[in-house]
C-alpha cells in the first residue's frame, strides 16, 4: 500500500498544470479552477431572491398565507351559499322526476354504499348509526322525502351523523333519500330500535 499513491495524479494538459496548487493530502492535490460563472449567477440569484422575498413578505406588507386563505375562502363560501340555497330547498317535483329515471335505483344503492354503509350497514340494518328499516326514527318527526332530505343535509353531529349537504350534490342527496325510503319498514334484523314510532 505504501507505494501506490506515489504515482502522481493524472494531469491532462498545461492549463491544468498552471492551475494546480501546492497542496498534497495523502496524495490528493487541488486545482484552483475559477468558479463556474453560471454557478456564481445561481448563487447570487438565490441570495438576492431570498433577500427580496423576506423583505416583501415580512416587512413590505406582502400578503400573508392567512390573507390569501381568507380571500379564497370567501370566494368559495359565496359559491357554497348559492349552492346551499339551490340544494337546501327541497323541490318535490324535481325529486319525483329524478327517482323515475332508469338509473335511479342503481345510483341510490351506489350513493348509499359509498357514504352511508359504513355506519348504517348493509340494507340499513344499523350498527354505528341507527337501524333504518324499522318504524322508529330518532331524528325525524315525519318520515317523508322532504324531512329525510333536510335531515341528511344538516345531519346531527353530536350523534355522529355528518352534515352531508357539505359533501353530496343535489342528485346524490335525492339518491340517498330514495334509498332510505326504499328500505323503510323492511324490518331487517339488526340494531335495536331507537327513537319513536313515526309512521
Amino acid at each position: 500500500m505504501s507505494n501506490e499513491n506515489k504515482s502522481k495524479n493524472i494531469i491532462m494538459n498545461e492549463e491544468e498544470q498552471s492551475l494546480l496548487l501546492n497542496h498534497d493530502y495523502d496524495g490528493i492535490e487541488e486545482f484552483d479552477y475559477p468558479l463556474p460563472s453560471w454557478w456564481v449567477g445561481t448563487f447570487i440569484g438565490g441570495v438576492v431572491f431570498a433577500a427580496f422575498y423576506i423583505l416583501y413578505y415580512s416587512f413590505a406588507g406582502g400578503p400573508s398565507l392567512q390573507d390569501e386563505y381568507n380571500h379564497k375562502m370567501a370566494e368559495v363560501n359565496k359559491v357554497r351559499e348559492e349552492q346551499s340555497k339551490l340544494v337546501g330547498k327541497f323541490q318535490p317535483d324535481q325529486y319525483q322526476a329524478w327517482i323515475v329515471n332508469k338509473d335511479a335505483d342503481e345510483k341510490a344503492l351506489e350513493v348509499y354504499e359509498e357514504n352511508c354503509l359504513s355506519c348504517h350497514e348493509e340494507k340499513g340494518k344499523g350498527d354505528i348509526g341507527p337501524n333504518l328499516t324499522d318504524k322508529y326514527w330518532k331524528n325525524l318527526k315525519k318520515a317523508d322525502a322532504e324531512e329525510i332530505y333536510q335531515f341528511i343535509i344538516v345531519g346531527n353531529e353530536d350523534a355522529g351523523m355528518p352534515a352531508w349537504g357539505d359533501v353530496l350534490s343535489k342528485e346524490e342527496l335525492f339518491a340517498a333519500v330514495k334509498y332510505v325510503i326504499s328500505i323503510k319498514n323492511t324490518n331487517v334484523p339488526g340494531k335495536e330500535a331507537e327513537g319513536e314510532v313515526i309512521e
Binding site: 491532462m12 468558479l35 448563487f43 431572491f49 381568507n70 375562502m73 363560501n77 354505528i128
Partner: protein, 724 residues
C-alpha cells in the same frame, strides 16, 4: 502512502516520526455498516409492503407500521449511514492527518457504545417506547447514551486533529468538523425532556415550539448527518479513486461556508402552511431557495474532479457508484429548494412526493456513496482484490433501477394524491370527499415502490456477499504498517496562501468559526419562540388534557399514529372543507410532544374530535375496513385487551405541571378517579350501542377519549368558515 516530500521534511529527515494506522477499528465499522445496512433496508422493504397491503402488519403490535417506520428511519440513518460515516471518517482522517487515531480505547468505546445504542433502539422502538419526534424517537436514557458516545467520537476526532502531522486541514476535515459540532448541538437541544419513568418522558417544548425545534433538528439531521459528512467523504474518496486533483479549491471554500451557514436556517420549510408564525416560514423558504447553489457547489466539485475519466466511470464500479451518488445529490438538492417554495410545498407536503425526495437522497446519495467507498476501502484495507466486479455491477444496476422505480412511483403517487385532496368542483364541494378514495388510487404505486425496494435490498445483499468473499481471500496480518514523516513543528503555515489557507492551519479557530456559522441561524429562528411568551398568543378556550386524555395521547404516541396522521389543518380551502377550521397556534400549547406529523397516509386528525360517535372509533380501531372499506390502517386488537395504567397518571401530570401545564394539586390528587369517571361516561354510550361493560378499563377507551377531544376547544367543526 504519500509521504511528506516538502523541502522542509527533506531537511529534517533525521527528525522523522514513525506512526501506524488503526485500521482494525475501521474494519469493525465496515462490518457494522454491512450488517445494519441489511437490517435497515429489510425494514424499509417491510414497511413498504405494509403500505401496499395492511395484512403485512400481521396483527402484532411490534410489527405495525407505526412502530417499524421509526425503526427503519433510525436504522437507516444512525445504524447504517452512521457506521459508514465512522468507518470513512476514521479511515480518511488518519491518512489526511498522517497520524494514528488519538486513542484505541476511545475508538473501541465509540464502536461498541454505538452498536449498543442501535440494539437498544431495535428493542425499544418496536415496544412502542418512543418520544415520537422524527429521527429522535429514542427515549431519554438512550438519548444520553447517544450524546455521550458522540462526545467520545468528538474527543477522539479533535485530539487526533491536535496530534496531526499535516499542518493544513483538507476540505474533507472541514466537513467532518461541521458535522461533529452541529450534530451534537442539534441532538442535545431537540431531545431536552423531563423523565416520567425510565422509559417515558415529556418534551420541554410544547406545540409550535416543539415543532419548530424538531424540524430545525430534523432538517439539519439530513444536513449534518446525511450531507456534510458525505461531502467530506466525497472529497477524500472521489479524488483518491479517480486519481485526479480536486477541481476547485476556491469553490470548496465558498460552498463549504455558505452551505453550513445557510443550511441551518432552512428547517421551517417542513412547517409551511402550519400554525408556525409566518415570518419563520418565510425565512425557511427563502433560505431553502438560497441553499440550491451552495449544495450544487459540492456536486460540481465532485463531478468535475471526475472530468477526463468518464471512460473509467463506465468501467470501474467504485467510480460508477461515486459518480451516481454525486449526481443524485445534485438532483435531490435541486428538488429540495423546489419543494420548499410555498405553493409547491402546499401540494407536495404530507404526500409521497416528500418520501420519494428523501429516498433520492438516502438511497441515491448515501447508499451509492457508501457502496463506492466500501468497494474502495475493503480491498485496500484488507490488502486484497475485489472478489467480483460482475457482482458489483449487478448491485449498481439493481440499486439504480430499484431507486428509479421508487422515485417515479412516489412522484406519481404524491402528485396524484395531492391533486385529489385539493380538487374542488364548481359548486364548492370536494371532488373526493372520502379520503380513502385518494388512498385506494395510489396503492398500485405502493406495490411498484415495494418491488423497487426489493431490488435495492437484493443489490445490497450482493455487495455484502461480494465484500465478505473479498475479505475471506485476504491474508491474516497482525502487524500494522509503519510510516514516517516530519513532525508538525517542522511544517510552517503556508504563508503564500490567502487568509483561508492560514485558517486551515488553525483547526481550533476553524472549528469555532464553523460553530458560529451554524449558531447564527439557529439563534435567530429558535430564540424568539423559546424565550418569548408572546410568540404564541394564548387562548382561554384551550384547556389542558384530562387525565384519561393524557393516557390516550400517550397511547397515540406509543402506536406511532403520527407516522400516518397529521394534526394540522392548513389554511387552505380544501382542508377547511375536508377537516374543518384551520389549526391555530394557541391550540397546541399543552401538546408535549407535538403531533403534527409529516405524512398523511390517513386523513388529518386535528378536527376529528366529535366528528364520529364513540362506537365509530371503537369499530374502526378493531377493524378499520369495517367502517372505511379500502383503508390501509392496521388493526389494533391489543388496545381492546390491555388495561389502562391508571397508576401512572399522577406522575405524568406532575411532570406536565412542572413544565407549565396548569394542573392544580387537587386535579392531580383526584386524577385517577377523574379518569375512571370519564371512562365510564364513554363506556355508557358504547354500552348503548352493544359493547360489553367490561371493556371500561381497556386502552381503547382512553384513546377514544383523546381522539374525541382533539381540536374541539377552538374547533367549531360544524361551520365552514375562514378563521378569524
Amino acid at each position: 502512502m504519500s509521504q511528506n516530500e516538502t523541502p522542509e521534511s527533506v531537511q529534517n529527515e533525521q527528525k522523522l516520526e514513525q506512526f501506524s494506522y488503526d485500521d482494525k477499528s475501521v474494519k469493525l465499522f465496515i462490518h457494522a455498516t454491512l450488517i445494519w445496512g441489511v437490517v435497515a433496508l429489510l425494514l424499509g422493504v417491510t414497511i413498504a409492503f405494509q403500505l401496499a397491503s395492511w395484512k403485512f402488519n400481521f396483527e402484532l403490535p411490534w410489527l405495525t407500521f407505526g412502530r417499524l417506520r421509526p425503526l427503519h428511519t433510525n436504522a437507516a440513518i444512525f445504524a447504517f449511514v452512521g457506521n459508514a460515516i465512522f468507518a470513512g471518517v476514521y479511515y480518511s482522517i488518519q491518512r489526511l492527518l498522517k497520524t494514528r487515531l488519538y486513542s484505541d480505547i476511545l475508538t473501541k468505546i465509540h464502536f461498541w457504545g454505538w452498536q449498543l445504542i442501535i440494539v437498544l433502539a431495535a428493542v425499544t422502538l418496536p415496544l412502542g417506547i418512543t418520544t415520537s419526534k422524527e429521527y429522535a424517537e429514542l427515549e431519554w436514557p438512550i438519548d444520553i447514551l447517544v450524546a455521550v458516545i458522540w462526545v467520545i467520537f468528538g474527543i477522539n476526532f479533535f485530539m487526533t486533529l491536535k496530534r496531526r502531522r499535516e499542518r493544513h486541514i483538507y476540505v474533507a476535515i472541514w466537513f467532518y468538523i461541521a458535522t461533529i459540532i452541529t450534530v451534537a448541538v442539534l441532538y442535545v437541544v431537540n431531545n431536552l425532556e423531563i423523565p416520567v419513568s425510565l422509559m417515558k418522558s415529556y418534551s420541554v417544548y410544547a406545540g409550535v415550539q416543539d415543532a419548530l425545534v424538531q424540524w430545525w433538528y430534523g432538517h439539519n439531521a439530513v444536513a449534518f448527518f446525511l450531507t456534510t459528512p458525505f461531502l467530506g467523504l466525497m472529497y477524500y474518496f472521489v479524488p483518491k479513486a479517480v486519481n485526479r486533483p480536486v477541481y476547485s479549491y476556491r469553490l470548496s471554500i465558498i460552498h463549504f461556508w455558505s452551505l453550513i451557514f445557510v443550511y441551518i436556517w432552512a428547517g421551517p420549510h417542513h412547517l409551511l402552511y402550519t400554525s408556525l408564525p409566518e415570518w419563520v416560514q418565510t425565512l425557511g423558504m427563502a433560505f431553502s431557495v438560497a441553499l440550491w447553489a451552495p449544495s450544487w457547489g459540492g456536486m460540481i466539485n465532485g463531478l468535475l474532479t471526475l472530468r477526463g475519466a468518464w471512460d473509467r466511470v463506465r468501467r470501474e464500479p467504485i467510480l460508477k457508484f461515486l459518480a451516481t451518488g454525486v449526481t443524485f445529490y445534485g438532483m435531490a438538492t435541486f428538488e429540495g429548494p423546489l419543494l420548499s417554495i410555498k405553493s409547491v410545498n402546499g401540494l407536495a407536503h404530507y404526500t409521497d412526493w416528500i418520501v420519494g425526495h428523501v429516498h433520492s437522497g438516502t438511497i441515491g446519495w448515501n447508499y451509492m456513496m457508501v457502496a463506492g467507498i466500501l468497494y474502495y476501502m475493503v480491498p485496500k484495507i484488507w490488502k486484497t482484490e475485489l472478489f467480483s466486479t460482475k457482482l458489483a455491477n449487478f448491485q449498481f444496476w439493481t440499486a439504480t433501477i430499484g431507486l428509479l422505480m421508487y422515485i417515479v412511483s412516489m412522484w406519481v403517487a404524491g402528485i396524484t394524491q395531492g391533486l385529489m385532496w385539493r380538487a374542488v368542483d364548481e359548486t364548492g364541494k370536494l371532488v373526493y370527499p372520502n379520503f380513502v378514495e385518494t388512498v385506494v388510487k395510489i396503492v398500485p404505486m405502493y406495490w411498484v415502490r415495494a418491488f423497487g425496494g426489493v431490488l435495492i435490498l437484493a443489490g445490497f445483499i450482493a455487495m455484502v456477499y461480494n465484500l465478505y468473499k473479498t475479505i475471506q481471500s485476504a491474508k491474516v496480518e497482525e502487524k500494522e504498517d509503519v510510516f514516517a514523516t516530519a513532525p508538525l513543528s517542522a511544517q510552517p503555515i503556508d504563508s503564500h496562501g490567502g487568509s483561508h489557507r492560514k485558517l486551515e492551519g488553525l483547526p481550533l479557530v476553524f472549528s469555532v468559526l464553523a460553530f458560529l456559522a451554524i449558531l447564527v441561524g439557529s439563534m435567530i429562528e429558535l430564540m424568539p419562540s423559546i424565550m418569548s411568551n408572546k410568540f404564541i398568543v394564548k387562548d382561554a378556550r384551550v384547556k389542558p388534557y384530562t387525565p384519561l386524555e393524557i393516557v390516550g395521547r400517550d397511547i397515540y404516541v406509543r402506536e406511532g399514529c403520527y407516522t400516518c396522521h397529521s394534526q394540522m389543518v392548513r389554511p387552505m380551502v380544501d382542508e377547511t372543507l375536508r377537516y374543518g377550521k384551520r389549526s391555530e397556534a394557541a391550540e397546541f400549547v399543552y401538546d408535549r410532544p407535538f403531533q403534527w406529523g409529516s405524512r398523511r397516509i390517513g386523513p388529518d386528525l386535528h378536527r376529528v374530535g366529535g366528528k364520529y360517535s364513540h362506537m365509530w372509533h371503537y369499530r374502526h380501531m378493531l377493524d378499520p375496513r369495517k367502517v372505511t372499506p379500502g383503508s390501509l390502517m392496521p388493526v389494533y386488537t391489543w388496545l381492546f385487551k390491555s388495561k389502562i395504567k391508571y397508576g401512572s397518571i399522577p406522575k405524568k401530570m406532575q411532570v406536565l405541571k412542572a413544565l407549565g401545564t396548569p394542573y392544580s394539586e387537587d386535579e392531580i390528587n383526584n386524577s385517577i378517579r377523574n379518569a375512571e369517571e370519564q371512562a365510564l361516561t364513554i363506556m355508557a354510550e358504547l354500552e348503548r350501542d352493544g359493547v360489553d361493560s367490561k371493556m371500561r378499563n381497556k386502552e381503547i377507551i382512553a384513546l377514544i377519549a383523546y381522539l374525541q377531544r382533539l381540536g374541539t376547544d377552538m374547533g367549531g367543526s360544524d361551520e365552514v368558515t375562514s378563521a378569524e
